[in-house]
């Protein structure tokens, strides 16, 4: 019996250790594997570099064209971060307003949906006719792309308050505002953070789309233009290098947001708690 348990225990410890290492190793290995497969596919099928360059060539191009791509990455990251901030403010703000007033919600939620589904490409010219400031217009475009998940998830979260807690606040005479700040917002946090993780990627897409429809005059050239241009010029290795940078930015943003989310929730929410073993 004791024997059996000891092996069990050792197995458990071994598994825990494996997981700790695997947490970093596995993604790294998978990425390496993906790169190798990509490389082999390109080599074995003799795919020419102007259709699908191999990872080596993309890496080389990345280094070679860093002078062009580096600043572009920075510009795109900057726009994406601004867009995300605006999306957070706008999304949470709207969700709060909607939760404070059912009238506002009933009346304006449809408009939020309309904004979400409106093709930015189609209305961008209109925006730029009336919005003088290019940066503002740019952020507006990116915001339209990214705000909805935050609004939608935060709204859901604000409505998912524990009923008994809501009653408690009612009894203690909490004002609408106190209820919002002390009860609804913390309850909505896990949902909001989930929306934030979605919006992180979308804000990057928003930055790309916004640059695509509006250019980035005054802030420098971003990755979107580099991709289009490289594609247009058949400089496909550079196009892929730029795409790789976007992908890397996306993963980076996601990782940072996941970390924030973990730190914010680890004390209390199921999704972030470590299981007691």
């Amino acid at each position: 019996m004791t024997e059996a348990l000891d092996t069990e225990e050792t197995a458990r410890l071994r598994r825990a250790r494996a997981e700790r290492i695997g947490r970093w190793l596995m993604p790294a290995l998978t990425i390496v594997a993906a790169l190798v497969i990509w490389d082999r596919i390109v080599v074995w099928n003799q795919i020419p570099h102007y259709i699908l360059p191999g990872p080596g060539l993309v890496a080389q191009t990345l280094v070679k064209d860093w002078a062009i791509l580096g600043p572009a990455t920075w510009v795109t990251l900057k726009i994406a971060m601004m867009a995300l901030s605006v999306a957070v403010i706008g999304g949470v703000g709207l969700a709060v307003i909607f939760s404070l007033s059912r009238w506002a919600e009933m009346s304006f939620y449809p408009f939020a949906v309309v904004l979400q589904v409106t093709p930015v490409v189609a209305i961008a010219p209109l925006i730029f006719i009336y919005v003088e400031n290019r940066t503002v217009g740019l952020l507006l475009c990116a915001w339209i792309v990214a705000f909805f998940p935050i609004l939608s998830n935060t709204s859901l979260g604000l409505r998912s308050v524990d009923r008994n807690l809501a009653d408690l606040y009612h009894i203690y005479g909490a004002s609408r505002w106190q209820r919002l700040i002390h009860l609804q917002l913390p309850s909505a946090l896990p949902y909001f953070l989930g929306g934030l993780r979605i919006a992180g990627g979308l804000s990057l897409i928003g930055a790309v789309v916004a640059e695509y429809v509006a250019g980035t005059a005054g802030i420098g050239t971003g990755l979107a233009f580099r991709i289009l241009e490289a594609g247009y010029r058949l400089n496909i290795p550079r196009m892929f290098a730029a795409l790789a940078l976007i992908a890397a930015l996306g993963v980076l943003i996601f990782a940072v947001l996941s970390l924030i989310s973990h730190l914010a929730l680890r004390h209390w929410h199921e999704s972030a708690l470590k299981r007691e073993s």
């Binding site: 524990d162 008994n164 807690l165 408690l168 203690y172 002390h182 009860l183 209390w268 929410h269 708690l273």
Partner: protein, 245 residues
């Protein structure tokens, strides 16, 4: 406080209460006693104003101000994202008191429920009884003039429970507050209350009311023959009420 012919039918069609009459005077300690599911919690929620009765009225004589109310629900109802201290802070916080200002009173309330050293724990790190005690500390931290409690001591062991009973009585003597108390324990209800309202189920209503005459409530009372006799009387009333169903 008076309830006149109060009835409550839930959306699902369950009649939780029907024609319930109840009068509670200021400073009185009233226990609601009754079988599980007979509508005690529903009555308490109606009194707290959390629901509107389907029929009848709940009315208050004189002012009743939210700052002067303390409640313990049947479930601990703690905010999972806040530490014990912050949970107890809640009623004070809603009145605008800052944490440093409130801290001495929070500590005192936690001390009273025996959780002085758990101020910085999160609710999920507490045992069931400890959560309930935090909830009690939260209800008492404002030293309210009206206390509504729904089986607050059910999850506590006898010794803690007795201590809390005495603490509650002491508080009540000091503040002269009104207490409406839901319990399952005949002993507890007799020990604590001026009046015991025995409820009958399906539909929930008042079956009997018994006054508990007792000059002092202390260890002596608890071991007195009088106490035992009253407990028996209440038990009998309870089984009559249950049998009715």
């Amino acid at each position: 406080m008076r309830m006149d012919g109060v009835g409550k039918v839930f959306a699902g069609g369950v009649t939780a209460l029907s024609g319930m009459n109840l009068r509670v005077a200021t400073g009185e300690f009233v226990s609601l006693l009754g079988p599980s599911g007979c509508g005690k919690s529903t009555a308490l929620r109606l009194i707290a104003g959390l629901m509107q009765p389907t029929t009848g009225k709940v009315s208050w004589q004189g002012k009743h101000d939210s700052g002067d109310l303390g409640v313990v629900f049947q479930e601990p109802t703690l905010m999972p994202w806040a530490t014990v201290e912050k949970n107890v802070w809640l009623p004070l916080r809603l009145r605008g008191e800052s944490l440093p200002d409130a801290r001495p009173r929070i500590a005192q309330a936690l001390e009273m429920v025996g959780l002085g050293s758990f101020a910085n724990a999160y609710p999920r790190e507490l045992s069931g009884g400890m959560k309930m005690r935090v909830s009690i500390a939260r209800a008492l931290v404002t030293q309210p003039r009206l206390i509504l409690m729904d089986e607050p001591f059910a999850a506590l062991d006898e010794i803690t429970r007795n201590k809390m009973n005495d603490d509650l009585l002491a508080l009540r003597d000091r503040l002269g507050c009104t207490v409406i108390f839901v319990t399952h324990s005949v002993f507890e209800s007799v020990y604590l209350s001026d009046r015991i309202v025995v409820m009958a189920p399906r539909p929930g209503r008042v079956a009997e009311e018994l006054t508990v005459p007792a000059p002092r409530r202390d260890e002596e009372f608890r071991t007195s023959a009088d106490y035992a006799a009253q407990c028996r009387a209440v038990s009998a009333a309870l089984s009559r009420a249950t049998g009715d169903a």
